[in-house]
């Protein structure tokens, strides 16, 4: 992976150059957060449902080995070929080998964050395979040559007028037409041709049922179904944490997923793929890519409970005001910020700091991942592992040295306040990021400590 040039703060600063666009982005996502709230409030036992989902997932993580083997056995009995990939490269090679075996050069793919994580599209393109993403939002960002900015709403950062222009350039729609219904129809027309001619369809997996060996894919557009039904080969790609023990557990997760994601009671399509139809081949690729390692890290393992609903992104005040691309990882927002450093600490050292630790993410999480606590823990791990700038390290060390010595603290406080009062330019300048858009606090005549000694000690009140 290329070393990134800018960190989150720099890209967020860039995003904030257009305040009205930030407002629009914030309001669009907040609207979805509010829809989620309304949907949740319609279920009296919502919190109990979250707790149950969390416990089911905990059980899965505790017994992942057994569930995976059970799933593999059932899937094989259903006539599915099961592949195991240790990492992203292996996953990409397996998928490519299947496509090659069938002599195909054009394929369709429905939404899969795992394939984004593995950079499958880029890999296949390098091998001369054309991949068409069939989820409308994903197709839009694909035409624009961008990664998705949100796991559920891949093009949430695009305005309809901009999509009209993009479609004009790529699909030949009339210039200036930004009518969502018209543009959707144009995309359908365009995608339909791809569906009809593609012999291989890749899908992601929302849930893999150990008991039956089936995979469940949730979409609102039916694009996963259409792709699979028309293709000779179905390749379902999934992270190994997608397992749930039994079919009945879908009753918990399907209720939580769509409500948390978009505020819908359920996704339009919840498609179960159990066995290939006659004449069709079905493959499931089980991908580890760091998950086993994560499973061993007590502080971080329960991030693997994630069902990719995106609720933490919609509620995150930082995500809403910095945009998905500022995270520079397939999964943006709070959950991405605790997953990404697990894959590459150096590359993603900025992400756990792109948060105020407000805790809203943990509260909306349908499987109760303690996201904000893990952000705090990642900060400790990153600093201890040396992924911190020397300037910051020196600054914080200096701060610690002052704050652990009461005498020096009082002295520095008094000196600092004196300078702020009489030579304010020392802090009120361009080098102080606080002062750029905010006034510094007014300097009081004395500290509380000084006030107390002056006003209370002589009254005989001593600590």
């Amino acid at each position: 992976m290329e070393q990134k040039i800018y960190d989150h703060a720099v890209l967020a600063d860039k995003f904030n150059k257009d305040a009205s666009r930030v407002d629009w982005h914030d309001k669009t996502l907040w609207f979805i957060r509010e829809k989620r709230d309304k949907a949740a409030w319609q279920i009296a036992e919502w919190e109990e449902l979250r707790e149950t989902a969390s416990q089911v997932k905990n059980n899965v993580l505790d017994n992942l080995h057994d569930y995976l083997l059970e799933f593999e056995k059932q899937a094989q009995q259903n006539g599915v070929t099961v592949h195991w990939a240790a990492n992203a490269e292996e996953h990409n090679r397996i998928v490519h080998a299947i496509i090659k075996e069938h002599g195909v050069s054009d394929i369709v793919k429905s939404k899969s964050m795992l394939t984004e994580e593995c950079h499958l599209n880029e890999y296949l393109q390098q091998q001369g395979i054309t991949v068409v993403d069939t989820d409308l939002g994903e197709r839009i960002v694909q035409l624009a040559g961008e990664p998705p900015s949100h796991i559920v709403l891949p093009c949430i950062h695009w305005k309809k007028e901009e999509i009209g222009e993009l479609f004009h350039q790529h699909l030949g729609t009339p210039k200036g037409n930004a009518d969502p219904q018209f543009l959707t129809a144009a995309a359908r027309e365009h995608l339909r041709q791809r569906f009809m001619t593609s012999r291989v369809a890749i899908t992601g997996v929302n849930f893999a049922v150990a008991e039956t060996g089936e995979v469940v894919v949730c979409t609102n557009e039916g694009n996963a179904d259409l792709g699979v039904q028309l293709a000779e080969v179905h390749i379902a790609c999934m992270g190994i944490e997608k397992i749930i023990p039994q079919r009945k557990h879908l009753g918990i997760f399907l209720r939580l997923l769509a409500r948390s994601a978009t505020g819908q009671p359920v996704t339009t399509y919840s498609s179960h793929f159990r066995k290939p139809r006659p004449g069709q081949a079905m493959h499931i690729v089980l991908v580890d890519n760091g998950r086993s390692e994560r499973l061993q890290q007590e502080s971080f393992r329960n991030a693997l409970k994630c069902i990719r609903c995106g609720a933490c992104m919609n509620t995150c005040p930082v995500y809403r005001r910095s945009g998905g691309h500022s995270y520079q990882y397939a999964i943006a927002g709070p959950i991405g910020s605790i997953l990404a450093p697990g894959l590459d600490m150096k590359q993603h050292a900025d992400l756990p700091f792109a948060s105020t630790l407000c805790g809203s993410c943990s509260n909306v999480c349908p499987v109760k991942i303690n996201i904000h606590e893990q952000l705090y823990e990642w900060r400790q791990v990153l600093v201890k592992s040396g992924h911190v700038s020397p300037v910051k390290k020196a600054g914080i060390s200096g701060m610690a040295a002052v704050l652990e010595r009461p005498g020096i603290y009082k002295f520095s406080g008094a000196v600092g306040r004196w300078f702020m009062k009489y030579i304010p330019v020392l802090v009120n300048n361009k080098l102080n990021p606080w002062y750029k858009q905010r006034e510094m606090p007014a300097v009081p005549r004395q500290s509380f400590n000084e006030w107390y000694r002056q006003n209370r000690k002589q009254n005989g009140k001593q600590s």
């Binding site: 989150h8 703060a9 967020a12 600063d13 904030n16 305040a19 914030d26 907040w30 709230d37 949740a40 919190e47 509620t315 930082v318 005001r321 700091f353 792109a354 105020t356 630790l357 407000c358 805790g359 809203s360 943990s362 509260n363 705090y376 900060r379 400790q380 990153l382 600093v383 201890k384 911190v388 910051k392 390290k393 914080i396 060390s397 610690a400 040295a401 704050l403 652990e404 010595r405 009461p406 603290y409 406080g413 600092g416 990021p433 606080w434 750029k436 905010r438 006034e439 606090p441 300097v443 009081p444 500290s447 509380f448 400590n449 006030w451 107390y452 000694r453 009140k461 001593q462 600590s463």
Partner: protein
């Protein structure tokens, strides 16, 4: 009941009136308050930046200052939460004892003193900024994300203040963007979050913005003053202590 007053470092240095109001309020309510004079900081600025391992000296000093009291009361949800969750020291037994005895001012008033009436008066329209660590960490009020019965310890106290009109907000508990070192490390987003919070209060007619944490209010004040807005910030201790 022997209570120690824990004053956050930035309150000590920049907002002494908040600590004075807290002290006076507690005394009015008949509490015997001590102020350990060698206190400095809870260590949160280092720990939240990833340097928890550099907080030992700070923590030992905290334990030295605050051991032996029945309660430790602090006019900040954030500092209180940090002590509750992360205070570890050479004397671990003493640290554990402190973790279980530290209270944010509002929760101390409602849960321990069980305050049911106040003599204070504050004749203004007030917007309440719910600081995240107090709200979501200490559970001072119901949170908008959760499907659960509404309550607010802070509002309960504000309703006891004569003449005070609490305004409604569009977003009841969105973060202001202060976030400790986040406020300078992620300056652009921090400020935008603050601007948006301020706008919500202003649009609903607030004359004052209050809250349990002066750090959030310091950030909002910085923005209000840059905007030359007539709206002011005031810590809840100052309102609850405001004389009739």
């Amino acid at each position: 009941m022997k209570v120690a007053l824990f004053v956050p470092c930035y309150v000590d240095q920049f907002y002494p009136q908040v600590a004075i109001a807290t002290l006076e309020l507690l005394e009015k309510l008949g509490v015997d308050v001590a102020y350990p004079e060698s206190q400095t900081c809870c260590g949160q600025p280092m720990a939240n930046s990833g340097f928890e391992h550099l907080t030992h000296g700070c923590n030992d000093n905290f334990v030295k200052n605050f051991s032996g009291y029945d309660y430790i009361v602090c006019p900040s949800g954030s500092c209180t939460l940090h002590v509750k969750d992360h205070l570890h020291a050479t004397d671990e037994k003493a640290a554990a004892s402190i973790r279980s005895k530290v209270y944010e001012l509002v929760e101390f008033l409602t849960d321990i003193l069980k305050v049911e009436e106040l003599t204070s008066s504050f004749q203004y329209k007030v917007g309440l900024h719910q600081s995240c660590h107090g709200q979501r960490g200490l559970k001072i009020s119901q949170m908008s994300e959760l499907v659960s019965a509404p309550f607010s310890k802070t509002e309960k106290l504000l309703h006891m203040v004569k003449g005070l009109e609490l305004i409604k907000l569009s977003r009841t508990d969105e973060c202001c963007g202060f976030g400790g070192t986040f406020c300078v490390a992620e300056e652009a987003v921090s400020v935008k979050m603050g601007i948006d919070r301020v706008a919500d209060h202003v649009a609903h007619g607030a004359t004052y913005i209050t809250g349990n944490d002066m750090s959030c209010l310091m950030h909002l004040e910085g923005i209000l003053r840059r905007q030359q807005s007539p709206v002011k910030v005031i810590h809840i201790a100052e309102i609850l202590n405001a004389a009739q």
